[in-house]
Symmetry: C2
Subunit: 104 residues, 2 copies
Amino acid sequence: MPVATDLSALTTKFHALSDETRLRIIDMLRGGERCVCDLTEALDAGQSRLSFHLKVLKDAKLVTDRREGRWAYYALAPDAFAQLEEFVGELPSTKLSVLASRCC
Amino acid sequence: MPVATDLSALTTKFHALSDETRLRIIDMLRGGERCVCDLTEALDAGQSRLSFHLKVLKDAKLVTDRREGRWAYYALAPDAFAQLEEFVGELPSTKLSVLASRCC
DNA sequence: CTAACGCATCAATATTTCTTGATCACCGGA
DNA sequence: TCCGGTGATCAAGAAATATTGATGCGTTAG
């Protein structure tokens, strides 16, 4: 089992990425840290909504947040995609032609 | 924009991977093609339930199915993870230290 | 000190997704 | 041809998620 490690942490991460708004957020953060107001404006999402999605990303450990004065800055977590790469990386191409030998 | 390609296809794939049962299915398919009854047994899931999850994976184009007699065989789609790798691969590590210059 | 701002959180509602049990269609063996 | 087995699909209910608007808390400017 390649990825028996922590299935539920993995599903949490994938779930966090299964939403367009959140994907956009991630994409914006690729350029570096952003404050919430920047994101709100760029994504034209209500403040409350954005805050919710940021929380989902944070809970999945994909982003980190930092408080500075009255602003909150979010950034990609350093090793955010490590676990995902591990899972996705196990390239299946090699064994693809293997057919199920025998059924039931 | 690195991944402007097709956000909704991407979210669909991520969503398909955001469930433990489906992750287990993927993992089993790494070893090659499997028939549904094998999967049902190995995952101890009801037939209907499994069929539902297989459909989710198939709709996300992560797996393909093949009919043979009265059995159905599922396998990882050849390029299943290509798009995911593209997204996940854009390693953020380099720009991580970039702080937001100015806010709102 | 007070008012405005940035943001998190909560409550209520809408929406989506999952599970279960039926049912149906198809195929192969007797 | 009839029957049992495999698996898809549907309908109904349960559960998880998302959206909205309201409220609250800390911070900064005046």
